[in-house]
């Protein structure tokens, strides 16, 4: 390569990067691939956290529920955790997906910080996460009694998110629930 041409390499790399950034502007990192909203929860059979038996999709059905993706390595999950406990105390059904985590760490976390979950699915390799299109923890799905995904929230669920977004949807699915 001629020496002068070599000097164009940084410019070329930057052009590629800029194209990606341009594309990135149109994408919403928080948006669910729309394919999954109002579609059934994917099938899965995964171990339950601290349980002998496996959990399948069928175990999660019957009531409208929140499906919370969490991990002990996730900063925001720690912030979110106390609020999930409040929701659980109010009677909201919450299932956990322990995402790419160590079982021992996860069990210790629940023991120390309290356990708002009805059950926890162990998604150690993130396979269920891939099917769901998990972007990162924490992430919370609202699933109805028939197992249809109604809403996906990326990020921490707090009082504001619950009151303004999730609760109205939840009460539509489960009248009288989540007082």
């Amino acid at each position: 390569m001629a020496p002068r041409l070599k000097l164009f390499a940084p410019l070329l790399l930057f052009a590629v990067l800029a194209l990606f950034l341009f594309r990135g502007l149109e994408l919403d990192p928080q948006a669910l691939p729309s394919a999954l909203i109002d579609r059934p929860l994917p099938e899965f059979t995964l171990p339950g956290l601290g349980e002998e038996r496996d959990i399948t999709r069928g175990d999660l059905l019957g009531e409208a529920a929140l499906l919370n993706v969490w991990a002990t390595w996730c900063v925001s999950c720690r912030v979110e955790h106390p609020y999930l406990k409040q929701l659980a105390e109010r009677g909201v059904v919450i299932y956990g997906i322990n995402y790419k985590d160590e079982d021992a760490d996860a069990l210790r976390w629940l023991q120390e910080l309290g356990d708002p979950y009805r059950a926890n699915v162990v998604d150690r390799d993130g396979t269920l996460g891939i099917d769901l299109g998990v972007y990162g923890a924490p992430e919370t799905y609202l699933v109805d009694a028939q197992g249809i995904i109604r809403y996906r929230h990326v990020g921490v669920v707090d009082e504001r998110v619950w009151q303004t977004i999730l609760q109205p949807l939840y009460q539509e699915l489960e009248p009288g629930g989540g007082g």
Partner: protein, 658 residues
Amino acid sequence: MIPEIGHFALIIGLCLALFLAVVPAWGAWRRDPVAMGVAPSLAVGMLVFVGISFACLCIAFLQDDFSVKVTAANSNSLLPPIYKFSAVWGNHEGSLLLWALILCVWTAAVALLSPQLPLLVLSRVLAVMGAIAVGFMSFSLFTSNPFERLLPGMPADGSDLNPLLQDPGLIIHPPLLYMGYVGFSVAFAFAIAALLGGRLDASWARWSRPWTNVAWGFLSLGIMLGSWWAYYELGWGGWWFWDPVENASFMPWLAGTALIHSLAATEKRGVFKSWTVLLAIFAFSLSLLGTFMVRSGVLTSVHAFATDPARGMFILLFLAFVVGGSLTLYALRAPAVSSRVGFAWVSRESLVLVNNVVFLVATLTVLFGTLFPLFMDALGQGKYSVGPPYFNAVFVPLMALLVPFMGLAPMSRWKRDDTARWRAELAVPAVLAVLCAVTLPLVQAEYNLWVALAVLLAAWLVVGLVRDFWYRVRGSRSVSRAMRRLTPSYLGMVLAHLGFAACIIGVVATSQYSIERDLKMSPGDSEQLAGYTFTFRELAPVRGPNFVADEARIAVTRDGEPVADLAPQKRRYLASGSVMTEAAIDPGLFRDLYVAMGEPIGEGGAWAIRLHYKPMVRWMWLGAILMGMGAFTTALDKRYRRQRKAARSHATEALHGA
């Protein structure tokens, strides 16, 4: 009225910036001394008007003028005045104005403090900075006007500053960080001026070195403050999360670290010229990229600002213009042939090269990890997140690889050195470092290999530095005479490298030895942690200026001796209703005791309480402070002042000659 004055002043600032970008550049092209000569006054004028604009925004916040949109959204009449002031930059619009103001401060500083610069170079440098200022001021005025009014329909009170930001650390964190970020624009402007002039010699490296070092020092301190804030304010004792916004500030720091070393080699030996120019462009481009990532919403992050696609598009176009333009200029003008100055493989130049390779790889690693979710999303491969495991797995070995060479560098010689000499000189430090690594971790009951490795690396640096220092000052009759032998450049390097060693120890010791327990405690309960007894004495309601809180009063004792009284709080802020954890910390050089309140459990007054024992966590922040101080020290070097005197007498001669 005052917000309108601010708005108007910002418009005048933008006009001055336009003049600054165009007139001196035209003057430099036509060799017109009058057009070139207006550059410094335009730079100062720009600072004055943007300063007025910023002051007006501050007044709007301090006077609770809730007819201004950002004030209504980010302040509250109950907010303590100091936080009303820091709320000015606790939001997108205000922080962007701060960005512009700091850019003006740097531009005016270059204009006023550079009498040694030839007018031709100075006018080009200031024109480049003016062009950057045009970009940022129009960004502020056209997409995020901080003076926008809410009229009619002004709210009775503001909706308050995010309680996380109501903190002393956050008052100075953004200004320091921006001083660093924006400071790299000076190195960038010098690089562009050198490319435009077609003369890449040692002098441009000498001119831009003190500016680059100072900017890097500010950035080090800014990042340190951010980490410290996260540690005590987020309430669970973490200090670095590899969050996209943190990475946005860390990448320019990494590239800047490569730059300050490469600049040294270019100044002293005239090597790596094109490479150094590229690094200067790279460091500032990463600052701009960071701004893009934080303000465009392309990545999810805990501290991203409220975003808007128009803003993202604006910065992207600006980024394309600045980075694309400068890289094109680089491709066309940088010397394509390698410099004639040679150096042997065993030499200080090679060690600088190792530094550059390591830091560049580290920068690209962080860049790749940060943008990976975006790449995959754009390619239709689905949503991904990259977590700390990736960054730690790549970053930690890289830094460990760096340190052996880093210990060699201070005693190495430029151009050609000799491995036999290295072996002779470094036998003692090597033995001492191994001794330290074997013995020091024994202080703890359990021998920890990671800590031993960290001690080995840090001791290698420290002993090497101390030995080199001793060789330079020995034989001097008095302390003052010994100090006179050492240049500020050298002292700054020693400080910064010691700081790096302290960071290694702090990071590894606190990661390995920290103990944390989440407990249920009722008043009267006692718990043990790392030999300390924590007694929950009472729970008391407390009222602050704009919050109410539950305060747990906890007495800490060790072997019956009182150590500290800690009072963590759980606050509810009145305006927003948000609940915040305020941790209580007993700091110490060798350990922090850290208590945070979780949630109340049951009716009996019991609380979830989190106790942490964090050994040597302060060392990494002290290390960063040392690095910052070291960088500032180097800028005091007489070399830069002597230059000025010489230039002045030269100028006088020229005047008399004419």
